[in-house]
Symmetry: C2
Subunit: 547 residues, 2 copies
């Protein structure tokens, strides 16, 4: 049996456009003479459609799109994910298209409702397994999370008898290193049922989520024999052959290149996420402030890779507090990247702003409000240019500063999309080096990488005046934000208790700033956003002695 996995990049809600992409892949699969073509979970409508699923007309349109696709793909068996039913009783389903119509439907049975997932908000669980027979093989159809609980799956599939393949259609969001967990799960499944596993994953960016593709085939020994592109569309084809009590996979194509390492993987995720957010939201061009610091430099390099140098505009907005080095590094970076570059000094606006505010007694020019005003003027400039020219403003804050609120609300957080919002500062450095080493020459000026980080909002300011060193900060943040560890656990893990307490306090106090900041690309196991939902109003202050 020849099987194809149609790993494509849908747009949420674009039922006609998604179907058109699938029709093209179907034509390609027909030419390759496949017996079975699978598309990802909720391929018809994109994942996650969220509260679109509460609109009865949306569900009706999904069903119509599936029926139309069935009529247009009559010659092979096609499996496609769609949202089925009505608002009161909706399923995350796979339609089996055969002979021009929907021949069977499988309904996802295990519905994830943790992390970024809200499937119990929308779907009722199925409960009936589905086995289809094609050529001489029996195939169990499953959807995403269904195969992640092997004990449950064993009991669920008990009644279907012998199978030679499990087909799993997925929309599995990316975080760094997650592909390993998927390979292990798929391998375990294959060995448990002594069958092949064909795993078809979504690819593309959807708001804060990245789907990284890497659809794959495993043989009955649990070995992943073929794997599709990472972070790009692909149609991966293999022959599935049962013989001598085993099931073998024979790839019909050479192997796709895979990311070189975890840093390369993150880089590719950020490029895809930026490109898709811009393009799917109708932006051809993007715009960002270039401070001469490493965060905006990395963001600019990612933007160029995502939408092309000709579509990126960098704005330098110096004040009296910027050093000549950072100003010239911003310009050098723009030149290296080949992007449009403008300089708008903020002094001429800052001075009258300051005078105007001085009518309120108590306003002063030496405090944090004056520092933040500079960032807010820059935010105004970028948003004004965005407004005038229709380009998307990329914000440049990293996860470390986002976590502790070392940002100006409606200042440097003003924009449409936070490219590196989930990237810890220590990883920002590694990504910057990756950009330069991949290019084989200095794209991000070395001074940007080696200079001590500073917000440059007052004379001789350094990040280290206000924050612990980033190596230490990022360790605390990983434990507290991503792993929900207590103060005691962090301190027992070797982190200094004064730093731990200070950092946790900052993280807790700054929830409101994060809520009012643009979405950004999730690359860690727990990102700020749908992954981590804390109340703004929250007086829980855990101290070491209570834990």
């Amino acid at each position: 049996m020849r099987v194809a996995l149609g790993q494509f990049n849908p747009v949420v809600g674009d039922l006609a456009g998604n179907a058109e992409k699938m029709r093209r892949l179907y034509a390609e699969a027909v030419r390759a003479d496949v017996d079975l073509l699978a598309f990802p979970e909720l391929a018809i409508c994109g994942y996650p459609p969220e509260d679109l699923l509460h609109k009865p007309h949306f569900l009706r349109d999904c069903m119509r799109a599936v029926e139309r696709l069935a009529a247009e793909c009559p010659d092979k068996t096609v499996v496609v994910g769609f949202a089925e039913g009505n608002a009161a009783n909706c399923h995350n389903s796979a339609a089996i298209l055969q002979g021009g119509r929907v021949s069977h439907i499988y309904r996802k049975s295990l519905l994830p409702n943790y992390g970024v997932f809200d499937e119990r908000r929308y779907f009722q669980p199925g409960g009936e397994p589905l086995k289809i027979s094609l050529k001489d093989l029996d195939v169990a159809v499953t959807i995403c999370f269904d195969i992640w609980n092997i004990g449950w799956l064993r009991s669920f599939l008990r009644t279907v008898g012998r199978i030679q393949m499990i087909l799993n259609i997925s929309a599995s969001p990316f975080h760094t290193g997650k592909v390993k967990a998927r390979e292990e799960t798929i391998g375990r499944c294959a060995r448990e049922f002594n069958c092949a596993v064909a795993y078809c994953n979504l690819v593309g960016g959807q708001d804060e989520l990245i789907f990284d593709g890497r659809s794959m085939f495993a043989d009955s020994d649990g070995v992943v024999v073929a794997k599709a592109n990472a972070f790009d569309e692909d149609l991966i084809i293999a022959d599935v052959v049962a013989a001598d009590g085993a099931v073998r996979i024979k790839p019909a194509q050479p192997a796709a290149a895979q990311p070189a390492d975890l840093i390369d993987e993150i880089y590719q995720a950020l490029v895809l996420g930026t490109r898709d957010y811009a393009q799917k939201n109708g932006f051809k061009r993007v715009l960002l402030g270039l401070s001469g610091g490493i965060d905006s430099a990395l963001t600019a390099a990612i933007a160029v890779a995502a939408v092309g140098a000709e579509n990126v505009v960098g704005i330098s907005m110096p004040s009296q507090f910027n050093s000549p080095e950072t100003i010239s590094d911003a310009e050098k970076l723009a030149k290296n990247l080949g992007i449009e570059f403008h300089t708008i000094a903020i002094g001429p606006v800052l001075a009258p702003f300051h005078s105007s505010l001085s009518v309120v007694g108590g306003w002063d020019s030496s405090g944090i409000a004056y520092e933040n005003l500079q960032a807010r003027i820059r935010g105004c400039i970028l948003m004004s240019l965005s407004n005038q020219f229709g380009s998307l403003v990329l914000t440049t804050g990293n996860k470390s500063e986002t976590a502790v609120g070392y940002t100006t609300l409606y200042g440097d957080t003003a924009g449409g999309f936070g490219v590196i919002k989930d990237v810890p500062k220590t990883t920002v450095y590694r990504l910057a080096e990756h950009v330069n080493s991949t290019a084989g020459h200095e794209v991000i000026p070395n001074g940007v990488i080696t200079r001590a980080p500073s917000a440059e909002l007052r004379p001789d300011q350094r990040d280290s005046d206000s924050l612990p060193e980033y190596d230490l900060l990022d360790k605390v943040l990983k434990g507290y934000v991503e792993e929900d560890k207590s103060v005691t656990q962090l301190v027992e893990g070797g982190l200094p208790s004064d730093v731990v307490n200070a950092v946790i306090r900052l993280v807790d106090r700054n929830e409101y700033k994060r809520r009012l900041s643009p979405p950004g690309i999730k690359i860690t196991p727990k990102a700020f956003g749908k992954d981590r939902r804390l109340p703004i109003t929250n007086r829980y202050r855990q101290s070491q002695d209570t834990s």
Copy 2:
């Protein structure tokens, strides 16, 4: 049996503070010689604690707080809601405190996971009913949603035998008119089981949610005999007496005053929500821009009721486009309210901003970007003053303009809390009249109420240049946003199809602006926020002919 319902206002996460409030109510209940004192759902930690429930140390601290409370309240039976268990297996539970310890635990069985609720994200359902016997009465303990499905409840309570009372501890979020649905549910329950129902609800504001209190007792005929304060704390006490096959309620106190009508109810909700967001987040003072328009006037009046005139600062930020009437009405309003008032003209900042932006070819002073720049300068001024003086910036956008994106991102949307974000413009007018009629004199100047609404960002601008009349707009929005109706349904309901299509397009396109705006108080059945979760990246465009 004498029963007291301790309707109090917790702060999410403030375990010690919440317990302290409950201890005081316990002392009061002891003085009134009650047999049973109930506190609301999750009273120990506040509702909803969201992802605090993923912290193992938080759950441990909750359990300790319950045990401490039990030890401190040994003389009466106390029922208190808390989060029980560990992150892997957590329950929304009621602890029964008797003799200084936790004598029984009931675990909520029906877990709402729709609208603003995410209980399946956190909790496992219970499955065992709990009946406790006090004096001569048998009482079934339930939590919130458990009593909303009467068919399910009938079967759930089948095994417990005869009961004389159902105790329900709740955290039921407010929307206009919802109390009626609660009374019907409670009445139905009472009649079904021929028993009394004691319903203890939370009160207070928590981010976008308001809990309106109005705890109540119903007799076995389903008649609500006693009801606690709306939008305020209360300890409501009644004797529950079973005789002659019925259960009667004898209130121990005079009846609490209730809101005069639905507009008064909304007004009180907005006042409580504003007060609690400010105070629970540590803000004594609030700050807002006064444009001379009705939205900011109403917001200011609510702010004064919420935190006191001495803690409200109004800023007028006129430009050349503001009429003398609006400028003087802003000042008149501030005087009527007795609040601090400053004028900061934006012209001196707008001019150099414009010159600076002109270095980028194509920038012009006649378009939407220039209009929005004015709003952004105002946002900068307010955020700067907030930064300098530690006051909370209230935004003044209503639901109608928020829905269609008739706002400037990071301009008039810049701030910390959106007081009237869920109030349709037509309701804004009714609330403004309510403010004046309640005061018995003109608080909000009549000119503000009668003048045609305008953003005043260009000469002779009117809202009606860009938007349908608000009466019509609000009808479309109610159908589309709150009721998820299709174009066809709206048009068949009598709304003009060109308006419907234009409005829907605006609502869909402006999801990103709403996501980047501050939280605000939910008063309708479906507010923007946790209630309505649409993707930003979303190409679903339903047209009339496809529905």
